[in-house]
Each structure stands twice: as structure tokens, then as C-alpha cells.
Symmetry: C2
Subunit: 498 residues, 2 copies
Amino acid sequence: MAQLARRPLLSSSTRCIVPSLTSRRSFHASPRWNLRTTEMSEKDLGDLKVSQKRLMEELQHSCKWGTGKRYGDGPNETGMSRLSLSDGDNYVRDWFVDTMRSLNCTTTIDAMGNIFAVRPGLRNDVPPTFAGSHLDTQPSGGRYDGILGVLAGMEMIRVLNDNWVETEFPVGVVNWTNEEGARFPLSMCASGVWAGATPIEEAYNLHSVIHDNATMKAELERIGYLGETPCSYEAMPMAAHFELHIEQGPILEAEKRKVGAVVGVQAYKWFTVQVTGRDAHTGTTPLENRADALLASARMMQHAHRAATKYGARASTGILTLEPGSTNTIPGSVRFSLDVRAPSDEIVAQVEEHCREAFTKIGAHEGVQLEGKAYDYTEGGTKGLPCGVEWTVDSVSPAVNFHPDCITCVKESAAGLFGASEVGTLTKDMVSGAGHDSVHASKRCPTSMIFVPCRNGVSHNPEEYATDEDCAIGAQVLTGAVVRYDRLRAKKEPNLRV
Amino acid sequence: MAQLARRPLLSSSTRCIVPSLTSRRSFHASPRWNLRTTEMSEKDLGDLKVSQKRLMEELQHSCKWGTGKRYGDGPNETGMSRLSLSDGDNYVRDWFVDTMRSLNCTTTIDAMGNIFAVRPGLRNDVPPTFAGSHLDTQPSGGRYDGILGVLAGMEMIRVLNDNWVETEFPVGVVNWTNEEGARFPLSMCASGVWAGATPIEEAYNLHSVIHDNATMKAELERIGYLGETPCSYEAMPMAAHFELHIEQGPILEAEKRKVGAVVGVQAYKWFTVQVTGRDAHTGTTPLENRADALLASARMMQHAHRAATKYGARASTGILTLEPGSTNTIPGSVRFSLDVRAPSDEIVAQVEEHCREAFTKIGAHEGVQLEGKAYDYTEGGTKGLPCGVEWTVDSVSPAVNFHPDCITCVKESAAGLFGASEVGTLTKDMVSGAGHDSVHASKRCPTSMIFVPCRNGVSHNPEEYATDEDCAIGAQVLTGAVVRYDRLRAKKEPNLRV
């Protein structure tokens, strides 16, 4: 970080390319310099600089709709509460559409309210390369999750305009509807419909779980975003999808890195585990006569953690409910969630298989073997009566591998920014722990993501924060990746060139 | 049990002493035979037989007020829901008072609605020896907890009447108000006021937590049980207090014993433990970056169980709540109850002291020593970030030792019933795990309790059940103990005799 402090990655002159928002030049209003992406040198690519100042001013400006909880005294020290298809979401959508049109993009709204803004290329009868994310937030969310990805796409278009860049093929920015699933309870909702993973009627019939009971279709209609273009990868095909996002985890910050080249998304499987013992009086029931469902559950949760450690996975319990719930009654019934994640489906399956067998044994007060190591959870304690264990599978999300071409474009863009000597220490290949619209996009087009650090790894929280410099670095890498992908398409399919 | 089946402990002829409830003889209406307790032989004492049939008919009859949830097809296969000072409680109180008066007892109602029914002795200017318990139940309670103790006292009076027994001193039956603390949230409520442990204004101002918000005083007034006699051990002194109760635990049943001679009540201390980590996304947060308050709590609960095992105590968690409570969020905050019980205050203190130190270490991912044995809960797992631990003491109840004189009377009564050869296998000295009105009574007069087995140790449940035979055995031992105590008083203080 000391190096970075001495030599800003984005030179201060960068911020002066565009003196003010009002004096920006428009691509179509100016004579073309014919700076085709396929004819740009490495130096030309390096000269395509985003404006940190403009990016952050626009980002903070967009957060005036749907502002959330204040956590500090600074002008931007509030979170966001911009639920999907709320009035706040309506305003920011209108602003997004108007701005993109002013930047000479065509805009299309599909039947799920997804907004596609496209800047023409030299040839326009082929799908655009998209950058994008989502403008909706959690009810108690922050200013970066999703928002940065869309705003960085807008900045990318501005950089192309400012520099009179001619892409071979169209380039666009997409705002996906209801990524959070916070108001209408299905996350990555409209990208799922676009990819054909979710039937549109299922999405339309989702009822708001916050404020009112309105359906998603009714709310799309109310705010004027029920578009006529079908929501599908066939009606609105993409050549590729790039998404810039805050990491939502602590790794980049901890390792003092600036960019994560996201190579895929973890597999995960969600379970509910029901442990059944017998209610009994805490005072009158000797330890050996107890079928203590909570003690058994405590041992299971600890064992799931050990299994996750052993197999290189993550296992977590976020919900636990018990009955009957009285200080002097041993709980006869405990239900807990189990969230297992790993880079591959095989590892998730391995953890599941092991835990299913181990939990049954733990419930029966038997010892457990984990890769040759024996664990006896009753050691030093008292063996009680057995507890039953039942599993329910709530959700399955297989691992996603992003496209090598997209990953390569991201890495080359980062190398162009950081230089060959520093790119190794400042970037890292990462697997996303959370789901994003890119998961669905990746089923229908080459896709990858770019992560930037966020403070303490905190997200879905008003205090979610990424530095202006890190946001700009992310937008810079995104812009470079999209331009490089445009060059790559032309190179791979020369017959497509004009 | 085979022995018992061959030779019923209560001969079948017993059940014929009183052909029907209507033809019973009343003590004062009949010529005295001058069968003074102090002049009774062991055989005379043995001839004082309770009627199992009458006891159980009366008990089931009393359960027609405040009947609860049905669990089987039999006529008595319902639980009880007779909340303190409810209409059901009002009816059963009226019946109790009327019945005791018909048995030639005087009845006194004190300012907390406690009902004292007294059968005169030869000398009546000294306090009576009482048997008793409570007629109120849990909202989802059974037909035995408390009810058996009062009904057995009524049967005792009938046995004394039937056999023209003259006690040296008065003998009574007490029904204590709101023992359960289920409607007005303070258990052993009115015996606590009687003993001076609870200020009466505190009890009066308790608000109903079920159905309505009425205060205890208002409800006493409404049902006509706000008596004029002050509620205190001074206004209504007791020479002794004997209480028959179902065990509410599994020990007697498991060991095929019939009677527990209760020598005291466990000490207990209730705590709330607050464990504070940090909310984080389950997908994006590596195991080593987590301050997982639930995993830490799981380890703490397991350690409390180990400490209880080591020190001969009981440790239990009956309530656990967590925040924020979402499958994909690691809980940053967990609160759990910890109920520690042991036969002595010293052992409770030992478990507390050990756990306070151990929980702090577990929260910090450090190893713990328990009596020379090392436990490392992070072994085979991943050390994460530390969690903070805070303790709150919610309730303290020191150990109670019942009075040797009362315990001796119970044991001698059991020996008289079972015979010297079987008393050892059929009875057991026990420490009560639960609190009872006898806890408060014991502070102001010699006290002990008698336990009888209940099915599966289940209590506070509609299916709570004790066999008719076991109930009658309990009533028999109670009657014998009260008569023996009357003899003991006369022997110990000969100047009190008429």
C-alpha cells in the first residue's frame, strides 16, 4: 500500500480529462478519429483512462434515490434502501435510461424490466458485449453492491465516447432487475428469467415481502418498466457479460490486493437439519436420561466446521430455532440451517455425505471418523439418550466456471494497469462466494467478474464501503477488459469484421 | 415389580373400608375411640390405610375444572390447563374448601389466597402439621403435578376421620397459590410471600402473561380469594410441612423404585450468556476470517456439559436466540440461557467459575483445561476471529436441606409400608431437581417431600402420568409420615401434650 500511496495508479491528470460533467464530448457529435479497438496499441489501450472523480460523483448522485440509514456525519455516510421496483428504484432507472440516451446509447427494456443500453459498434447486426450489474439494494444495504457495477459500465461508455473509440461490435451496459431478491424473494431474479432458468410467470407472481403484498408484475407495470421485448437470451443476446463488484469478503483487503479476477462461483447447497430428542426438565433429568437436541446440534455444528476445514469447504449455520424454549426445559426439537460451499460440486457432495453419516452417529452418541481422525463428542461428557436427525435439501447451486476468454481479458486489463512487475502482487484469481447475475449470464454467454476490496469485507450493511480509488481501479479494469474482448472477438472471428 | 404384582402393597380390602363416598363417617359425629397417635402400636399405624379408589376418584373428579388437551381416548386422558386464579382454579378452590369443611376441618384463606384446612388435635393452641401442595397447573400441564399432593392431604384427613384417630396436635392441608408461576410469572409465588421471601406488593403487582393483563391482586379479588388473614408464617405458623409430588424425572421409574425420600432441593443458578462476533456472508467469508458467534456458542454449550459431568452437576441450555438469522449470514450475536444445578451451592459455584474462564478462552480460540484434561475446540477446525462473552445472572436459588425429623418420619412410614426387607430396594434418598413450595416452607418450619414415579419422567405435559397404585403408595407414606411427626412432636416436647 505504501507503493500505491507514492504513485497513484490513476494519475491525478486523469481526473482532468473531463473538466466538468457539463462539458463532456459526445461521440456522435464529434468527428471520428477512427480509433478502432483492433488498431489500438498497448499504449492506446493504456490511455483509455476512467475518471475517478466523475465515476464517484455519478455514483453518489445515483444514491440520492432510495437513501438508507445514516451511519456517520459525512455527506455520503448513509446506506441504501432501494428495494426492487420501489419508487426509489423507479427514479434511478429513469435517470439511468436518460443518461445512457444522452451518451448516445439505445435503450431496450424487456418484460422483466431489465434495461439494456447499447453503444453502437462498427457492425451492429451481432450481439453487444455487456458490462453490468444491478441498481436495487438490500433494505439495509450499502452504496456499492451492484451499483458500482452499473455505474462503472456508464463510466466505460463515457471513456469510449471521450476518446472517440470505435469498437468493432456494439458495447452495452445492463441493469438487471431484482438481483437482491430482498423485496421479491428470489435472488438473481430477472437474469434467471433472461437465461431461461426461471419461468417468467414464476417471477411475475412473486409477492413483495416488504411494505406490501404487490406482485412483481404489478409493480413493473406501476413504475412503467414492463417492457415489450421478451425477457430472454434469444430476444436480447449477449456476446459476453462482464461484472464489476465489491468482493463482499475480506480477502483482497487482508492481502493488500487491488483486483480479484473471478474465475468462477462456488457451488453451494442449503439444508435444514431437524434434530429430535425429548423435552425434559433441566432440574429433574439426569444427564444420562436426556435426549438433548440442542447439545446434539451443537456437536453437529462443530463437526460440520471440522469437515469443512478438512475438505477445503465452508459450512455455516445462520438460523437455529428450538422448542419449547424455556430456561428449565431441555429442548426436544432443534432445527438449524446448514450452508455448505466449495469451489466444486464434488467437494460440497463430499461434505454432505460425510455430515449425513456423522450427524446420525453424533445423535446416537457414537464416535465419528473424519479422514482417519477419530472424534468422540461424548468424551469427558455423559452419554444420554439418542436423538433422531432428518435432513431437508432447500437449495442447490452448482459451481460456475467463468469463460477463459473473459478471464484472460480481465487479467490482461489488470496487467496493463498495474504493469507486469506488480500485477502478481496486486491481483488474485478468486472464486466468488456469493451469487451474482453473472451466474445466470454465464449459462448463455462468455462471462467473468472483477472484484475490488471492500472495507472489512462488510456488505449488505449501510457501512459497506470501497475507496474511491479502488472503485476507479475496478472501472478501469472493466473498461480495459471490454475493449480487449471486442478486439478478441474480431481476432477470433475475422469474418465478422466490417 | 414382579413382587409387587403378586402382592399389592395396598391390600384390596383397603378399598372397601369406605363403601362409598356418601356413607363416610365423620370424626366429630362419632364417639371417640381415643386412638391417640402417641398410643398407637406399629400395627395400629399400619392399619391406617388410604383408599386408592377414593383417592383417584376424587383426584380425577377435581380435574373436571380446568381440563386441558386430550391425548388419548380414555376418560382421564386429557391434560390440565388450570392457570392460577382462573375460573377453573376458582371452582376447584370452592370444591376444596367445601370438601374440607365437610370433613370437619376449619378453613382459613390468607391475603394471597393460600387455603389452610385444619383438623383439630387434642391440643389446638400450637401450630398444625401440614400436608399440601398446589392445585394450579401449567397451561399445558397434567393431572398430577401439585394436584396429587393436595388430594393426598385430603385423603389423609379422611383416613384419620375413618379411623377415629386423635392427633396430639392439629393436622392440616394447604393449597398454595400460583406455584407454577405460569400465569403470574413468579414460581412458588404465594409460599414465598408466606415465608417472607417475596414482598406481598411484588406478588400483588404481577401481571398475567396469559389471556389478559390482570394483576394478581385483582384476580384474587375477582374470584373471592383475597383473604383477611395476613399471608405470613407468623399469622399462620406451621409445625411442619410435608409434600407429596410426582418425581418429574425418570430415576424412580428407571430403578423400579416406588418412593423417593427427598432430603433436599438442588441449588441452581440461571445465566444468560451473550456471545458477540461479527455478521458476515457465509459464501464470501473464509473460515479464518469469521467471528462466528454460533460456532463459539456450540463449543461453550458442549464444554458446560463436560464441566457438569466432571463436577457432578447439571448444565442445560433451553433458550438460544441469534441475530440476524439468515441462512447465508454467519450470526454475529448469540444469546443462550445456562441453567446450572447441583446438590450443593459449592458445586454450582465451581461450574460457574470454571465456565466463566473457559467460555472466554473458547471465544478467543484458546485451549481449556478441565481438571487436568485439555480440550482444544479448534482442533481439526479453523481458528477464526475472537468472539466476546458476557454473562448475566438471572436467578439464584441456593441448595435446600430438608429437616432430619421430617425425613425420618417419611422413611419410617415407607419402612412400615414396604417392610424392612424391601424398603431398601423400593425407596431412595433423593435431591429434588425442581423447586416446590416446600423450598419456601422449609425456611420457616421442618419440611420434607415424598416423590413417586411418573411415566418416562414426563411432567408439564398433558401426558404426565402416575399409576393409581403409585399415587396411593405416595398418599399412604404421606399419611404415615404426618402421624409419625405428630408422635415425634409429643415425644420431643412432652410439655406440649394435653
